[in-house]
Amino acid sequence: GESVGLHLPTLSVQEGDNSIINCAYSNSASDYFIWYKQESGKGPQFIIDIRSNMDKRQGQRVTVLLNKTVKHLSLQIAATQPGDSAVYFCAETHPNTGNQFYFGTGTSLTVIP
């Protein structure tokens, strides 16, 4: 079966520091990856995506890095703010599964003021 996993279930950072959340995936055919943020009582919210033909993509305060060699994905949040506290999921899909996303377990990020 599919395996998308996260290295750390929890992460605490000081406000203003940078955060790095990691994710491993097992399917080398995966070609599209998304990071989602889920706040308590809400559905997943899109943060940033990346395709397999790229190794880095930047958004506003967020950067996603993709290392296909070791099947590893990371999310970097610059100058972490209290509002960034949430659970972060990586999700991936590949051509064989069409619309089906496979989600990781999630990392709970806590920002300490």
Binding site: K42, G43, T93, G98, N99, F103, G104
Partner: protein, 115 residues
């Protein structure tokens, strides 16, 4: 800003009963999805729906589950005879295009509790 809405926010039912979870996707979206999340676990894909038919479903989506788009706005998930293990958050999502090419927007979820 357009958003996916879901009702009810919380549904409590007895084992063996039928439940219908409702979703209103974003109006110009063409692809619709249901996911579930058992407490403390990962989000799991159930089904995708396009052009009034199921385009893909997971192993979880067995004969007890069905989806329907009864009109131009609603998208429903029916569980025919609920089991205790169906207790979870159920998320509806919609997108303009396919998963690899378009962002999926998620609703706030319906918490289903089966007693």
């Amino acid at each position: 800003e357009p958003e996916v809405t879901q009702t009810p926010s919380h549904q409590v039912t007895q084992m063996g009963q039928e439940v219908i979870l409702r979703c209103v996707p974003i109006s110009n979206h063409l692809y619709f999805y249901w996911y579930r999340q058992i407490l403390g676990q990962k989000v799991e894909f159930l089904v995708s729906f396009y052009n009034n038919e199921i385009s893909e479903k997971s192993e979880i989506f067995d004969d007890q589950f069905s989806v329907e788009r009864p009109d131009g706005s609603n998208f429903t998930l029916k569980i025919r005879s609920t089991k205790l293990e169906d207790s979870a958050m159920y998320f509806c999502a919609s997108s303009v295009g396919l998963a690899g090419g378009a962002e999926q927007f998620f609703g706030p979820g319906t918490r289903l509790t089966v007693l």
